[in-house]
Symmetry: C2
């Protein structure tokens, strides 16, 4: 068996079952090895940003590493932005990046670049195979590294000759490791620190936002009087009717500061202390009030569920937690379409256990607020701020969870970064409904232009924030990529089209003209 085959066998033995790929000439042996390795599904994506974003979405929903196959430095570079988002999400991703044969690098052929330097940008582990024999063992190491803590990015650079030369044998499979426990003494002290009546909040990210942890947090909140606040951009928040409610930290710095005002104790679970997304002239980047005590209960990479259970036990927090009541709003009527109508329709019609991937940007917040009492669902957001994450994450989430409906709530501007994802959604027969919010502008930037007090506001300035001239027609773009699509201009049109989408399996796009 050659190096590529030994690597793929090792990866398959390590419970890798899906490879998102955009290969080139230097990966032909790897492509062939994927073709002949049972149990590894091959998903072709038309652009590497789709590959890496889909891997992120898969990892968020499967809680298991996804594999990517990328073509040299250029392929990896195209995938970096969504690897950045995946890193911020704590997603487990194993990249296999083909490279020139080891002896070919000296010639500086056109595609040659500093690939190890590029891999270091987002990867917590990266290695270059030096021989075919090294390929399987490094593959197992990569899987292991990707499973560290909550999940991480691991990148194996696979020179072409290491793929085509003979390799000794597959390596021992890398299986899931035990997540490190939080120190018991630390948790006992924390229980003491949570005594007394102080304005306090838990600030939540990572696994703390899963239903089981939120239930424990709900019990803890009941006895400590603490608020539960989640990161502005959680990787995966389980919410909706019957679940413990959390506040979401506002995006804009001044609103976030106001939200946290008066707190004397902030307990971090699964994330760092909140900071503003961007800096603004004359505004604070650090959002927590001066003098507020900040304590880490568990980091993102520790066993959050066990730590919370221990704290709850220490507090004798045994009562059932308060949960969100179901709220089914009326369907919107024959009114011009806006974010409120969209949110009400989605809230009313959402099936159980849907997955909502939110890259709605300015249009996303209203839908988020209006779906608080909708059927229980998972809410996935743009974790790293690199736009173009939404459609690929929806693709990957749908492949990880074929029995669950996926709704991609997608702004127009950011859709255009990785719109190629629509094609793979069709090819893979995923159950994704794309709600494309077409407002013909980078609306968030128009808001930010005003907020930062930048001087000139003339036609040339505004042209850089405007997506009209020409208007984009997302129904046509979707059709061009093989996806059925419809356009909604009123609340009732949207409700009807969304109802149809929820009742029908398979991919479709609703262009919501807002």
């Amino acid at each position: 068996m050659n190096g590529a085959q030994a690597l793929l066998k090792t990866l398959a033995d390590s419970e890798i079952d899906t490879c998102f790929a955009n290969p080139g000439t230097s990966e032909m042996q790897l492509v062939s090895a994927i073709g002949e390795t049972p149990g590894v599904r091959a998903v072709l994506c038309l652009f590497e940003g789709v590959v890496t974003g889909a891997a992120d979405g898969y990892a968020r929903m499967a809680d298991r590493p996804a594999l990517t196959l990328l073509h040299l430095g250029s392929g990896l570079s195209n995938g970096l932005a969504n690897l950045h988002n995946a890193r911020r999400a704590g997603s487990a991703v194993v990249n296999v990046v083909g490279d020139h044969a080891t002896y070919h690098l000296q010639y500086d052929a056109p595609l040659t670049s500093d690939l190890p330097g590029l891999a270091a940008w987002t990867s917590s582990w990266s290695q270059v195979a030096a021989s075919a024999d090294e390929m399987p063992a490094l593959g197992a190491e990569a899987v292991c590294a990707s499973r560290a803590g909550n999940g991480a990015i691991a990148t194996l650079i696979a020179p072409a000759d290491c793929a085509w030369e003979q390799s000794s044998a597959p390596a021992t499979a890398a299986l899931a490791a035990v997540t490190p426990a939080v120190d018991a003494d630390h948790l006992n002290r924390l229980v003491q620190q949570l005594q007394g009546d102080r304005p306090r909040a838990f600030f939540l990210g990572g696994r703390a936002l899963r239903e089981d942890c939120l239930n424990t947090l709900g019990r803890i909140a009941a006895v400590t009087g603490a608020r539960l606040i989640c990161q502005t951009f959680p990787a995966r928040l389980q919410r909706g009717a019957g679940r413990v409610a959390v506040e979401r930290l506002p995006y804009f710095a001044e609103q976030a500061t106001a939200s946290l005002g008066g707190l004397e104790q902030l307990i971090l679970v699964g994330c760092a202390a909140p900071v503003s997304f961007f800096a603004y002239p004359g505004k604070e980047s650090w959002l927590t009030p001066q003098g507020c005590e900040i304590i880490t209960l568990a980091s993102a990479n520790e066993d959050i569920a066990a730590a919370l259970a221990s704290v709850a036990q220490g507090l004798e927090a045994n009562s059932e937690p308060a949960v969100r009541d179901a709220h089914v709003p009326d369907l919107p009527g024959d009114v011009p379409l806006n974010a409120e109508a969209i949110g009400n329709a989605i809230a009313a019609l959402l099936p159980e256990n849907a997955i909502i991937v939110d890259e709605g940007v300015t249009g996303g917040l209203a839908v988020y607020l209006l779906t608080e009492g909708a059927a229980p669902h998972d809410w996935l957001t743009l974790t790293g701020g690199a736009i173009g994450q939404g459609l690929p994450v929806a693709l990957g989430a749908a492949i990880a969870r074929p029995a669950q409906k996926v709704i991609a709530l997608q702004a127009d501007g950011s859709a255009m970064y990785t719109v190629q994802a629509l094609w793979s959604m069709v090819r893979e027969q995923t159950d994704v409904t794309v709600v494309l919010l077409n407002n013909r502008s980078y609306a968030i930037l128009a808001i930010e232009l005003d907020r930062v007090g930048a001087g000139a506001d003339n036609d040339k300035t505004r042209s850089l924030l405007d997506l009209s001239r020409p208007d984009m027609d997302f129904c046509a773009i979707a059709a061009g990529l093989g996806m059925r699509a419809s356009r909604a201009r009123t609340g009732s049109e949207f409700a009807q089209q969304f109802r149809d989408a929820m009742a029908t399996a398979g991919p479709c796009l609703i262009e919501a003209m807002v």
Copy 2:
């Protein structure tokens, strides 16, 4: 004036007249400064790969640096692949990349990344501004660095507070520097080395492929018996009827080796010695015959035109060079469309001084060969092998040369990397005709899979090279991005549509079903 305004004034004074941009919140002051700086055109692109590819195309045709505006590490990462191509093309590009405010970086906000590390990947010069006062001087340095030799990538990282704080004044403008001359003694020796009757060839890249240099080379070839061979992927080759003909080195290693077989002397002008694009099992990467003498006449960064003139004078090569005869083929008839029919139609109908941007991949070669005797034109190729270069380069070339027709010869697979360029072509009212070669596959990879002798050839393997299921409809995609489009299935349909396109100003797409 603030740092952004001082920077933009300096850049405008330095003969920067076009900025390709995809900005975000951290660039709002820069956007505003562009808006109020006369003489700097702002071109919004929907994805950063379009931004950087357009800058490359602009620089190739304008022989002057283009400016880009990018959003933090994620924006730069999305633009890296086409910066890699631009670097290989020897294009002058100045990137201004916004970053978080200097004091904000410590908080590791979601978009924070190692931006200087990323900039180093393709830039020959990169600096981070530390204050608003530094912005204009560093801008001038960047322009200067981008003009080094043939052209280079220079990246200025501009933290948001350096843009919004007050700056003292614009810096002294950076104007074009003198290109270094080749040492006269070296050229005199070379004249001696060119004496005698040996199998020899000039291997040409960079500025050597412009009409004036080719004329000199034609005269030199006449007295030295040398062949003229150009790089497989030239940045800009001036060719067609009435121009000195050059052979193009074949892409596949075995064909390139055969082409160079028997040479005893290879004289390099504007490029390095040829090597194979990829390595293949059992094949040589080094293409020049063993024992062949290799001499550099001038590097890409030296004054090639003057060096060639000096050599021609030393050789007393005064006769007019042989040039290509005009050849106008018959238009294709009512036959199923293929690359030959497309090549003949383009050759017959090409207007004078057109610019052909070739990312036709497997479909491009026939068109190249069939247009050898077409009206004189510029041929621009994929210099760095990172696909997704064609449409953006066509956009930039059209903006640099509004009076010349641009034809983007574009394969389907690579079109999908940066298809967003169509929208900017429409918005900017460019005179680009996209000839979209739709063969529903990564055809080059199917060839390579056979060539590398990879084992498995099953449905799963082939699915990773196949672009059907679903078929893409590029007329619909173009319509979605505001561009008029038509589909050709026969030679006569293509000829009619291409004739119409040549007769009509403005952007359009012809989907050639091959």
